[in-house]
Amino acid sequence: MSKFKGLESYSAEDSSYELLPFKFDRFDDESYIITNLVGEYLLIDRDDLDGLVHRKLNVTNRLYSQLRSKHFIRLPKEKSPVELLALKLRTKLSRLSQFTNLHIFVVTLRCDHSCPYCQVSRQSEDKSSFDMTKEMADKSLDFVFKSPSPAIKIEFQGGEPLLNFELIKYIVESAEIRNQIVNRDLAFVIATTLSLITDEILDFCKLHKIQLSTSLDGPEVLHNSNRPRPNKDSYQRFIAGLERARNRLGYDQVSALMTTTESSLDKVRDIIDEYLKLGFKGIFLRPLSPYGFAIKTKKFMAYNTERWLQFYKAGLDYIIELNRNGVEFSEYYSSLILKKILTAQESGYVDLMNPAGIGIAAIVFNYDGKVYASDESRMLAEMGDKTFELGNILSDSYEDIILSDKLLDAIEESFTLSAPMCSECAFEPYCGSEPVYHHAIHKDFLGRKPESEFCKKNMSIFKHLITLMENDSDTKKLFLGWANR
């Protein structure tokens, strides 16, 4: 005789259970996905879904245990599931009380490149009227240090920010002096093509622990065709700059981003191989954004979401294959989403936040003194849509800007938990509201989600990642590693 009683002995006396809040959606032809308040998920069939809601599940059923352990059901008046869900939700939302970590300084709009998909207008190298002034920089730093965030990241963007390196030096040194008093976790990044990097610049970066974020679109021919320079030497300059920067700053102090153009679509393996060849540990497969020159030059319309998804999925397949063969390499967009799916942590990625990350996760100080709710917001403004222009750093106070109706209305009206369809979508915990994208395309903060390419792209990626994990335990282990990095 067994020393232990059967499972049924441990059920509640009346075998009843209470439902905890959850949402569901069709996953594929055979199954449904259910997600709880913090995004923990299970795939079940329709009969089990009905059984769950109508109390037909038996305690000996394996699904019953899974549902209890993932907080979809609880025994009557059981307290711990409520406390655990609250704790996890609190962790996910903790960023809200420490808002605005990323502060982007557009120190110049000048650039030495003329990329057809560039998201902002660029001017020739010699027009200093497109540079931020010291007065604007000082006022912007006043703003930065009013943020309640214990961690402050200042990112320099352009144009090519190195064309106004003197102002970068001024801002870094001023910020460090101010930080001696307030003692925040202060970090700096320069977003640069590396084409103008010099030893003097690198010495300064080394001294002040400044990281470099650069751009690599793929192999030489593709990179040079995407990123034209007068001498057609964009790739050569990138390679020389990368080597020099790594030697001086350290290997992990330089990261790279790629942009997918029409020419990239059938070259995903070549692009990934290029990143591997140059020693990068991962890649961020990014579609073109519907802003700036990408629209003016019709580059944005050159491929649709389905075609980009094919590109992304083929790339992800290749990366998984590489890992199976012992090559450690990850895809960063997938990693951000997997963190949301598999952990109680938030990735902090502005495009996938709810409430939207505009203003409260990142904010932009433009070269002309204008303050924008995000990098995409200033790109939209360059196209004539000033919806997300929050004020002017020379004339408006911190409170004027952070409490402006322009910002608060956009955040409130795009809030996914009260948005049609999003509020009941099972994938909502993994998604974000992205009011800037929707305003660019649909002319309102929400858009109609069934018609939204943002929704289509992300839903497809969520389903794809979950399918890959469910179909292969090794892939799940790999994804767990990416999620917890």
Partner: protein, 100 residues
């Protein structure tokens, strides 16, 4: 123009349930509602030209979505109290909630 009419019993589905399902199909069809005694009359106009077979598929999916919406409302209603309990525990003693 491809149209069809569906009739639902108000004792089975609420107008809100059908409206929510219709919203999810907003990229495929539009619906005019008419309340008639205990019936909800839905005049459906499909977007674009489709084969008869394809229209039947969209219609069947729409009906399944209504069923899903109905279940969603049951769950939402039943879990409202515990959802509020979890949310109050989440925001308890944080700067995110103003204590009166």
């Amino acid at each position: 123009m491809n149209t069809t009419t569906l009739t639902f019993d108000e004792r089975v589905y609420s107008v809100e349930t059908i409206q929510k399902a219709a919203y999810r199909f907003i990229n495929k069809l539009s619906v005019d509602f008419e309340l008639n005694d205990k019936s909800i009359l839905c005049r459906i106009t499909f977007d674009g030209d489709h084969s008869e077979l394809h229209l039947k598929k969209i219609e069947a999916d729409f009906k399944k979505e209504i069923l899903d919406q109905h279940l969603r409302q049951l769950i939402s209603k039943e879990t409202e109290t515990v959802r509020n309990l979890i949310l109050s525990a989440t925001f308890l003693n944080t700067d995110l909630q103003e204590i009166e």
